[in-house]
Assembly symmetry: C2
Homo-oligomer: 294 residues x 2
DNA sequence: GCAATAGTGTCTTTTAGACATTATGTG
DNA sequence: CACATAATGTCTAAAAGACACTATTGC
């Protein structure tokens, strides 16, 4: 194009002479909330094992937050996208390559990293227990899977003339090598026409940075999507029973579901196979796989 | 805390001596997809005016993309969050202060800005027509509201042994001072356990940067949220009729809805008032406002 | 009275919730 | 045969879709 700007430059000329300004730039990092579902050891040979939702954390080996637990992540390098950075981190931390990956939210609070100006683009990854077994000796010094519990604590709503302020507090508990916990407060401020939501960490015991907030955000996203997408299937191995799938839903939602209704709801998401479980101490269960048709 | 790291430094000592590395950092910008719904002039005195979904664009006055239309936005400054930057931009471009604002997605493709490494954290804002009137002489040289049309063009799905690749193409048309158009392709790649989605601009006529993609993303988010949140009410003035609300749903979804069913669905989102429309050339319509109780 | 929209009634279909009943391999 | 889980049937309640009918105003 021959268009010239106010200095008489064409686009090519402009780009050749362009020098990035000296204004301050932030560092951009990715933080990964990597979920998986694992099985507890069964109490009895014929009882089904309990399932648990787990998240991967890494103990910090340096300042800041030395000794605290943090989400895996790292800085985005030149010539890579935030998603590529996330994939790279994921591969470094867990050794897995093909997983469900979804951008969550970009956190940019002032002072969220005491070192310098860091904006974090967070991602959620879902790994199934199959792949988890592939991950063996990982080099990340001190990585561990923590069992996740995320429950509403209290809720408050204040109405005023032309709106309301609603605060909901959730307790996040992470159990693994240590017991970590945090309380995250979500504040919804509504006026007649506008609405805004804000997350805030009320208390925090053992987690680095604002990672309690990021984990809370991830859980809410995961729960939300469970009901209207097939996202849960990314937490399943290639073949699974409907009971196992139901357990995954239950452990993520932290809520019991009725069997018959559940099966109707997921019917379109799965395809039945001719395979069955064996040696279970009770009636064998048909194995299903993800339905890729729809 | 008295913890010391491998160099024998406490956290405070570490932070005091910390110097941000020399590695390259990206610029971080925000881009705003600002939607509103406006009314066409009515053909006849008693016919209802048609509604249109509109998005605010700004004609670029310098390279790159000189003369093309771009989303309002700008760089995030030190000591402000991306959200604060978005609020600032919004206020500068439209003069409005209290609006619904939601973070959309962070775009970081290599080369998305030909000048330098720029990562964009995009936001969607919804403005009601009331507030729009407040905006008068805006100083942004060449800003204009473009009517939005976003329609599926074609869809293709290829099944292979352990997954599928689905591509959906959408045509984005923006009509205002000029006719802009773009085709955006969404590719969903599914393997047995993982799934990924990718957006790509196929053709682009008149829009700067990757903004066609951002607008497409915003429309999809808006459409998705319409069905399970009260987000549409942020496009409404303080008082509105249910027919007006239905028109907003219809123009956003690009789909006609049945009156009775629609009224049942939004019943909980609105509160009736004792006000009615007047001089309409037909039966007056009751005015509603957003329900803040629930 | 007519044009145009407002608002409601009701029938059918689908979906969700609740719970009971039958089925089956393993020790 | 008993245990524990698998799998399905059925009743009810709630939600969604479709369409028709009645109600009001301004000119």
């Amino acid at each position: 194009m021959g268009l010239v700007d106010k200095d008489g430059l064409t686009e090519r000329e402009f780009l050749e002479q362009y020098r990035a300004g000296d204004y301050e730039r932030p560092s951009v990092a990715t933080d990964m909330v990597i979920f998986t579902v694992t099985e507890e050891e069964a109490d009895s040979y014929r009882k089904l094992p309990e399932k648990e939702l787990r998240v991967l954390l890494i103990r910090r080996g340096g300042h800041p937050f030395l000794g605290k637990w943090a989400l895996p992540g790292g800085f985005v390098r030149p010539n890579e996208t935030t998603e590529q950075a996330a994939v790279r981190e994921l591969s470094e931390e867990t050794g897995v390559e093909d997983v469900y990956l979804e951008q969550l939210y970009t956190f940019s609070d002032i002072g969220r990293d005491p070192r310098t100006w860091v904006i974090s683009c967070s991602y959620m990854a879902l790994i199934n227990s199959d792949k988890l077994e592939l991950r063996s000796g990982d080099d990340a010094a001190d990585a561990a899977w923590f069992k996740v519990s995320y429950r509403p604590l209290r809720e408050q709503k204040e109405l005023n003339e032309d709106g309301f302020i609603k605060t909901q507090e959730y307790e996040l508990q992470l159990s693994g090598e240590e017991e970590l916990s945090a309380i995250v407060k979500r504040t919804t401020t509504a006026k007649t026409t506008s609405t805004g939501t804000d997350y805030e960490i009320v208390t925090n015991d053992g987690l680095a940075f604002d990672h309690a907030k990021i984990i809370a955000y991830a859980i809410e996203r995961l729960r939300g999507k469970l009901n209207y997408t097939d996202i849960a299937l990314h937490l399943m191995p290639k073949f699974f029973t409907l009971t196992e799938l139901q357990q995954v839903y239950e452990v993520v939602m932290d809520k019991e579901l009725l069997k018959a209704a559940f099966r109707r709801k997921v019917a379109d998401l799965v395809t039945e196979t001719d395979l069955y479980t064996e040696n279970a101490g009770h009636r064998p269960s048909r194995l299903y796989r993800r339905n890729l048709e729809e």
